[in-house]
Symmetry: C2
Subunit: 347 residues, 2 copies
DNA sequence: CTGAAAGCGCTTACAG
DNA sequence: CTGAAAGCGCTTACAG
């Protein structure tokens, strides 16, 4: 038996006040005495009243919703812990402030832009979060033009006038290279992510630069799409080359796990013959044997930070870029000094 | 520079018709000539008009949104491909019909019920999807009472009058046990999920029943919370017991991977000394070495099915339970006949 | 501090 | 087929 939804008029009638007073009481605004406010709130709670989000949105208030469009396939999203952890963090922050999260999957940047335009036209969301920033990202100017509050998760470059939350990926990669070099590795390779993504490019540049500084030869980077398949394929190629690397850095956890399997199939022991570092830490890295040394950070907290910033922008605050903590290297069982036999002899 | 959002009045003015006509044209309803309809749609497209979702919702139409509350921690959600794949499937179906997905994380069933009540009161969603059905699930009577359209992902028992999408978990488990028994395994154990969850209970019962029919001794089930930690712990316990199982069935993929690592740590070769079956298939199962034999199904399609059903309920259709395909066993490298030495001698 | 009223942008009977 | 108008449930100036 469907229940009838109470409206603000029901509350007003039962409390013996006008609808306006109920609204003021609910919004915590002046205009009602403390006693009246209490009575109104009690009545509202008693009859289980919630204000219609549609009516609130229509009368000029906000939609109380934030949008997130994700441009990855179902399979990639499923297997990458990163996004779900990010979403969890975002959502926790939003729901604490009674904001809803509206999620949409898109297939490409054009579709995402269309979604943003539609959300804006429909007034469905008060603002959006932007992931996977690309070089000359076309979403940025559109959001600027629309005036739709937005926060970029990424950067610090390429965000236009939009505020952003970012972490220093370059530093994290350099730390990793330095650590491997300190162990004695000379031939370090990297399996990077989609080269179009700005953060992947930043990491790639940092990797090359770190290797150059340490005077390491042939800092090979192979690009991939973050899937296990491509991670495995890249690993096979690297390990079959004449100057086989003694350490490989992967841009995420899934590829690192795939790389570990490939090494094992090829009869290489990890970490004795090959060291592996996963570029994202997640519980997956502790599941495999040996467990993987990984670059980790608190992804839910990162998402929460972005959500807080977006709510501030929506609230009209002037918001600057926020730098989150950099990823930290957690040492586990997949890294060790290189085998002596395969070390490059000093010339 | 923020752009002004066009309203239906802007379209009406430019097209030289009334607002009512624009509405009819946009809704594909009779009341406008074909020529007028075309002109109106052209104008709407030209000025980038989208109807305000708030205004539509307020004037009696639907919210065009569907809600999903998830009761798992950020970490669990992140590492379990199942939920993100389910969400992807749901979302793909919804966005094809211009419905939004509103997502919220909750900590327990009370919180979830509160969210459902609030969504209903706010008219924020037109219906909800219900996951992780429990015995005597308290969400069911609440949704029935509110009359909020809902579809349960699970069952077939315990769904009350709510329609549901389910797959035959019992059959899948029985298939698995039969397969392992056919390989020659006699001591099969199972690492199950949260015993409160109805589908975990169904699988547990099916497992016990299948073992009984095949006259297998000691069909041990250890319960867990689906995390790698508990999966590893349960595996250690099972493999340390005097009558060590020669095969273990895990209720998801993450625990199976954790179990594989534990076996390797304990010096057991998979599948020579121990066979492993993962109760969920995902790309993770192909990443590890050996790859895992797994019970798989098309999870995005399952979510899509649920979404279609919910949209039908929202549309006022009488909707029955839908049975999705059962999970199918995909044979990979983690299953083989048991070691002969450890087989139970015929008495 | 309180009440009556306009208005947000749609949809939908209701007359023409 | 078309137009004028009421109404959805709120918020918020505006008088009292």
């Amino acid at each position: 038996m469907a229940v009838k939804r109470p409206t603000i008029a029901d509350v007003a009638r039962r409390a013996g006040v006008s609808k306006g007073s109920v609204s003021y009481a609910l919004n915590g605004q002046p205009g009602v005495s403390e006693a009246t406010r209490r009575r109104i709130l009690a009545v509202a709670a008693e009859i289980g009243f919630s204000r219609s989000s549609a009516a609130r949105a229509l009368s000029g208030a906000t939609a109380n919703a934030v949008g997130l469009a994700l441009c990855r396939s179902a399979r990639t999203l499923g297997i990458e812990p990163f996004f779900m952890e990010l979403i969890s963090g975002v959502e926790a922050e939003l729901s604490a402030r009674s904001y809803a999260l509206t999620l949409q999957m898109v297939t490409d940047q054009d579709a995402e832009i269309a979604v943003h335009r539609r959300w804006w036209g429909e007034r469905r969301v008060d603002g959006v979060l932007v992931c996977d920033l690309r070089a000359d990202d076309r979403r940025v100017p559109v959001l600027e033009e629309l005036g739709l509050p937005a926060v970029v998760i990424g950067g610090p470059e390429g965000t236009g006038t939009l505020p952003n939350v970012w972490s220093d990926d370059a530093a994290a990669v350099m730390d990793t290279v330095n650590y491997l070099a300190a162990l004695g590795h000379r031939r370090i390779a990297r399996v990077g992510g989609l080269p179009d993504l700005l953060h992947a490019a930043v990491r790639g540049t940092a990797f090359t630069e770190a290797c150059r500084r340490l005077d390491l030869p042939a800092a090979v980077t192979v690009s991939s799409d973050y899937t296990g398949e491509e991670g495995a394929q890249a690993t096979r190629r690297l390990l079959s080359s004449s100057a086989r690397p003694t350490a490989i850095i992967y841009d995420n956890d899934v590829m690192a796990i795939a790389g570990l399997s490939v090494a094992q199939e090829m009869g290489l022991a990890v970490p004795v013959d090959l060291s592996i570092v996963a570029g994202d830490d997640s519980p997956l890295c502790r599941l495999v044997h040996p467990s993987l040394t990984a670059l980790g950070r608190d992804t839910p907290a990162y998402g929460g930070q972005a959500a807080r910033q977006l709510l501030a922008v929506i609230g009209g605050a002037a918001v600057d870029a926020v730098q989150a903590e950099s990823a930290q290297l957690t040492l586990r069982g997949s890294t060790a000094p290189p085998p002596r036999a395969t070390g490059t002899a000093p010339s």
